[in-house]
């Protein structure tokens, strides 16, 4: 399977050639031509010898006046804190060098993280230093003092209070489980009896809570324990990447992917190919609207054939039995598999699916006896179980009636994320006094009277709850860089606490809750551990209300479109973006430049559809189309994704920004413009008309196929066991001209192992590497020219039929060949080998011939075509890891196996006169990986995890026939398909 342009349009070859040799590849960004460049080159060569002559300029050393007690200059400190995306917090450890936070890692003690860190947590460090963040308190665009905000707001509140007990005072908050916010809200409600609180988030979990309400009579949080699940069925649930505690899910899921009898089996039913879908043993592509009927079919199959006792109660509501066809066979096989694993199976429903599907999921899980085994329940983490479009629509109605005088917004940019039909931006303009607490001068900022810059989570004290209710105290690592005001201080100002800072507010709230004499010691422990022990919610043991469910199912009926595929009206799906979430990370250049895990698209979103649908509509890759839904239009480029459901289009949210954020502006299109409050997740009746234009998308991995080469391998358990020697020709010694190097005398033999069975392609490792190794961002234009700088990339291949492809992801960084082709061709010895087997890159020797990159079969070397770090804004310089050189123009660079970490750990162990312990040394990618797919260590230690993996029967070498003897070994992905579906 080649790339879509090769497949679909005739000019594919030309385009491929163009990609290989892009026009103007020799031009620099400012348009200098080759001739000028050569002239300048000659001059600078002649002068460069002299440039080395003057001595380096004198430097100053500025010591502390009073050195903080724990701090040793030159050694980083780590602080436990928490970062919340939506309502759920993830515990993180932040690295700080002499007061500068530089990196975010997972907190091993925290239940949601377990030591791993996701994209958003890690990339948030870039947002801390983002010079485009809002800096000033403003009133109608004019800078004002925080004190005058307090005074004038007080006046207005007094007036409101007197008029009608503050009926016109409204708060619009992010859904949050923060106990201190809850505290403050209670006090605000007491002070302003008629004030109201609303919560809104574009990617809400309303459906999940409504589903629980339908099934159990009350909204509940569903917790999945995948380590206990033998069979998992995901209904539109991307639980490995986006939904809730995905880091924990990934770890638990991956732990059960080791080939053998304990291996789990994942079925996924979804419309757009998701990260979870790529891991599925069986994937059924259905349009989102068909998933409800699928759930009903599954239910009726379980009732009819497997006679699950508990489900008999709703048997009467179900319609006719299954008809024939491949989908029916699928349902039968899944139902049988689920029924074979009572108490050891799990049905997960995604938040995009309507409440009924969630309720059916609960019913099936209950009937299978999965409650308390693979599925647990607690009360909801956020204070409001309704925080989606419906909640916002209710507020919008009140605004329209003129009942809102002062609206305090701490929710993320609702003017942008609100469904278009609410016309929220113009409603905001109609409110006399909007107080917006935001990170950027964004769309909401432009329509608010008072605008207050928000403090970054690393700049302020707060608290938050994890998915299971566990509370973390989030501590700051740096004083606000841009005058940000903490949310707690803003809320506290409404109850008159204007002189207290966030720390005092938080501590007092906790002190009241913990009247113990040893509060101080406890508090210190909470901060050190990053969580408050014993604060997880107590488990709830709900039982399914069969009657209510019965009635709901009867009311729903069968909703499938009877028309055959190809003639059905187009369905449109709205999904949170893997990289910018709901748009809140749109100004984060790391995330913008990160290739999407599935599409490999950077710096843009696109209307995603299946190749068959694109062909039916006559659309090519990157063709700009007008999307029209319910009379609203937006232009978007088209992008084909194998495995996407036919007759459906997926639109990732969060792009097409029009605020003042320089990175986000002009990137992608705004899918919120088509979103309707009554159908926030999927809708029918989309029309597509071509604009006859082409948008050059920045795709980092345009090729779909491995062209028959054994690169990223996958197999099934049965196949693998049948022929265990099949991999022998992909590993072991090869013939070579070169004299073998003796590594036995070296203290270590560094090596890596990457288990493809575990890797989900989530890309957390890519951001970890970027953060650890000071990797620059190059921008959309440079990515289009294939000049992205990521040392670690994730290749994504499709195999099998284009409609139902099998997908595999493969992280590739420098594999540290023992016989490295790059080293033979370097004319200046800038890339050499260490005695421990590292392929070293010496920046100062590199003259930029790029021979090494040309000779590298893995294509992992990255060249600084331009001086990407030269114009780095001042605040971002603080973020650099001081242990890693910041590279300049004209230098080659690549993965070093995090040699700075090796040397730090080596020095520490040598000082203590002890060997390096296995697991003591982690590369950045390994540390971030939620699935523990990456292992690093020394092969000299026979018992080390990496040694064991190198001896694993699944081990193979990438491009083994070249005889490069890579130190990074890969382990074949093993799938566990259901023999009944073979």
């Amino acid at each position: 399977m080649k790339s879509p342009s090769d497949r679909v349009d005739e000019a594919g070859v030309d385009r491929a050639v163009e990609r290989e040799f892009p026009m103007g590849a020799a031009e620099t960004a400012d348009g200098m031509d080759r001739r000028t460049f050569v002239q300048l080159l000659g001059t600078s060569l002649a002068l460069s010898g002299l440039a080395g002559c003057p001595r380096a300029p004198p430097e100053k050393i500025l010591p502390y006046t009073r050195q903080p007690p724990d701090l040793t200059p030159g050694n980083p400190l780590h602080y436990a804190t928490a970062f919340a995306t939506g309502a759920y917090a993830t515990g993180v450890l932040a690295t700080s060098w002499e007061g500068r936070p530089t990196k975010i890692e997972g907190n091993p003690l925290h239940p949601s993280s377990r030591g791993a860190a996701g994209l958003f947590e890690q990339a948030s460090i870039l947002q801390l230093y983002d010079p485009q963040r809002a800096r000033l308190v403003k009133y109608k665009g004019v800078a004002r003092a925080w004190k005058s905000f307090l005074a004038e707001t007080r006046q207005r509140l007094d007036y409101l209070l007197e008029a009608n007990r503050a009926a016109g005072l409204r708060f619009l908050l992010d859904p949050s489980g923060s106990p201190t916010v809850e505290d403050l809200r209670r006090r605000i409600a007491a002070a302003f009896p008629n004030a109201r609180f609303h919560a809104y988030e574009a990617l809400d979990r309303d459906n999940a809570y409504q589903g629980a309400r339908l099934a159990f009579g009350r909204p509940l949080e569903t917790l999945n324990e995948f380590e206990n699940a033998d069979v998992i069925l995901s209904l539109d649930a991307d639980f490995l990447q986006c939904v809730g505690p995905h880091l924990r899910h990934s770890r638990q899921f991956a732990a059960r992917r080791a080939p053998g009898p304990a291996m789990n089996r994942l079925y996924a039913v979804e419309s757009m190919l998701s990260v979870t879908g790529t891991m599925a043993d069986h994937r059924l592509r259905l349009r989102s609207s068909e998933i409800q009927s699928f759930a009903l079919e599954l239910l009726s199959e379980l009732v009819g054939k497997h006679r699950l006792g508990a489900l008999a109660a709703i048997a009467s509501a179900l319609g006719q039995p299954l008809d024939a066809g491949p989908r029916a066979a699928w349902v039968r096989a899944v139902a049988a598999d689920l029924a074979r694993h009572p108490g050891r199976s799990s049905l997960v429903v995604g938040p995009r699916q309507p409440a009924l599907v969630h309720a059916i999921g609960h019913a099936i899980n209950s009937a299978l006896g999965n409650f308390e085994q693979t599925v647990r329940f607690t009360r909801p983490v956020p204070l409001e179980a309704e925080a989606g479009s419906a909640a916002l629509a209710a507020l919008a109605a009140e605004i329209r009636d003129g009942r809102v005088d002062t609206l305090v917004i701490t929710s993320r940019n609702p003017a942008y994320t609100a469904p278009a039909n609410l016309e929220f931006p113009s409603l905001l303009s109609s409110i006399p006094n909007v107080i917006y607490h935001g990170w950027y001068e964004d769309e909401t900022w432009a329509r608010s009277a008072w605008t207050i810059p928000a403090a970054h989570p690393l700049e302020t004290w707060s608290d938050a709850r994890a998915h299971d209710g566990t509370i973390s105290i989030a501590q700051p690592l740096i004083a606000p860089l841009f005058n940000g005001i903490p949310e707690l201080e803003l809320l506290a100002s409404f109850v008159g606490e204007v002189d207290k800072n966030a720390y005092q507010i938080l501590r007092e709230s906790w002190q009241k809750k913990t009247p113990a004499a040893d509060f101080e010691q406890r508090w210190e422990r909470w901060l050190a551990d990053g969580l408050v022990p014993g604060t997880a919610f107590s488990p709830e043991r709900p039982s399914v209300r069969w009657d209510a469910l019965n009635a709901a199912i009867r009311g729903a009926g069968k909703q499938d479109d009877a028309a055959p595929p190809g003639q059905r009206p187009l369905e449109v799906n709205f999904v949170g973006d893997y990289k910018v979430y709901d748009g809140r990370f749109a100004n984060n250049a790391w995330l913008q430049e990160l290739p999407d895990p599935i599409t490999k698209l950077a710096w843009d979103n696109a209307a995603l559809l299946s190749p068959a649908t694109a062909q039916r509509l006559g659309l090519g890759q990157g063709e700009v189309v007008t999307l029209e839904l319910r009379g609203r239009r937006v232009d978007a480029p088209v992008f084909m994704v194998p495995g996407h459901a036919d007759d459906a289009v997926t639109l990732p949210l969060g792009y097409g920004r029009s605020g003042m954020e320089g990175v986000a502006r002009g990137m992608g299109f705004n899918a919120y413009l088509l979103r309707h409050a009554s159908a926030p997740w999927f809708d029918s009746g989309l029309t597509i008309t071509s604009r006859g234009k082409h948008h050059p998308l920045a795709v980092t991995h345009d090729h779909w196929s491995m062209e028959g080469r054994p690169l990223a391998l996958q197999s099934t358990l049965a196949e693998f066991q049948k022929n265990p020697g099949a991999l022998d020709e992909l590993r072991g010694p090869t013939e070579t001209f070169h004299r073998p190097v003796d590594y036995d005398q070296a203290p270590h033999r560094w090596a890596m192992a990457i288990d493809l069975s575990r890797c989900t392609g989530c890309s957390a490792c890519v951001v970890a590497c970027q953060s650890e190794n000071n990797i620059p961002v190059v921008g959309r234009e440079q990515v289009r020219r294939s000049r992205e700088m990521h040392w670690l990339r994730i290749d994504r291949y499709f195999s099998g039929p284009i409609e139902e492809p099998s997908v595999i992801t493969q992280p590739v960084a420098c594999v540290h060949c023992e016989l490295a082709p790059c080293e033979y061709v370097c004319p200046v010895n800038a890339t050499v080998h260490s005695d421990e087997g590292l392929n070293e890159m010496v920046y100062n020797r590199c003259v930029g011939t790029r021979y090494c990159s040309n000779n590298c079969p893995y294509k992992v070397r990255r060249f600084n075509y331009l001086h990407y770090t030269q114009d780095k804004p001042a605040p971002e310089k603080l973020m650099m890891n001081p242990d890693v050189t910041v590279r300049a123009r004209g230098v080659m660079e690549k993965c070093t196996y995090c040699v700075q970490r090796i040397e730090r750990v080596r020095i520490q162990s040598r000082i203590e006169n002890r060997p390096i312990r296995d697991g003591e040394l982690q590369t950045a990618c390994q540390q971030a990986c939620p699935a523990e797919a990456i292992t690093f260590g020394s092969l000299h230690d026979q018992s080390s995890r990496v040694s064991r993996l190198h001896r694993d029967p699944r081990r193979y070498d990438l491009l083994h026939d070249l005889g490069t003897r890579p130190r990074t070994a890969y382990l074949v992905r093993i799938k566990n398909p259901n023999p009944e579906l073979a």
Binding site: G52, Y64, T72, N75, S834
Partner: protein, 216 residues
């Protein structure tokens, strides 16, 4: 007709050829010599500081251990420049009215850092680590010279890569017992090479000369 080339022409050509051949060698040689000379390395430069701090007095007369001020030398890549607080530990009591220390007091009480001029400057792509050297028996004096005799701190060693490698290839004769690490005037009573060998064994010294040992 007279000869086109006079007899001297041969000589002229020979000399010219010699000069042309020698010029690049001389040029490169000169550059090399310059790069290793104190002119370029900055050895023995007297570097003025805003505070007239005298190591002679503090080290030799008062006998203060190096680590009292450079306190992170055993734990960190950096030896550490003392926080102003450390100066004030003593100078709140002694010389607490001295006009020489006006600046120190002013900086301390207004919480502004004293801007010391760097004396030992390594290029930014060098990741030198004090702690491993000190813990394996490389004394302060080995690289920094007799600081107890310096009025103004100066760089004694060239700090070139060749100089680093000399020791990394053959460290034995630069080692001393770790409890004498800060002794300025220590000389081994026994044969230096013999002691070096013993210490290498005792401290398990394995110097490394890979590029990434220092450049990352």
């Amino acid at each position: 007709m007279s000869a086109l080339f006079p007899p001297a022409a041969n000589t002229i050509v020979r000399v010219a050829a010699l000069v042309l051949l020698a010029a690049p060698i001389i040029a490169v040689g000169t550059l090399y010599a310059y790069a290793n000379s104190p002119l370029y390395t900055g050895q023995h430069d007297q570097i003025e500081q805003v505070i007239q701090f005298d190591h002679r007095h503090h080290v030799r007369d008062d006998g203060i251990d190096c680590r009292y001020c450079h306190s992170s030398v055993e734990r960190s890549p950096y030896a550490g420049i003392p926080p102003t607080e450390v100066c004030m530990n003593c100078h709140a009591q002694v010389w607490n009215k001295s006009p020489l220390l006006d600046e120190v007091r002013a900086r301390y009480f207004t919480d502004r850092a004293i801007a010391w001029n760097r004396v030992h400057r390594l290029p930014q792509f060098v990741y030198f680590n004090h702690s491993i050297h000190v813990n394996k028996g490389v004394g302060c004096v080995t690289c920094h010279g007799r600081v107890d005799r310096m009025a103004m701190a100066e760089q004694v060693a060239p700090l070139t890569m060749g100089w680093c490698l000399d020791c990394h290839r053959n460290p034995a004769k630069h080692l001393r017992p770790v409890d004498l690490i800060t002794e300025m005037s220590w000389e081994p009573a026994v044969n230096r090479d013999q002691l070096g060998k013993e210490l290498m064994e005792k401290y398990d010294v394995h110097t490394r000369t890979n590029c990434t040992t220092c450049h990352r």
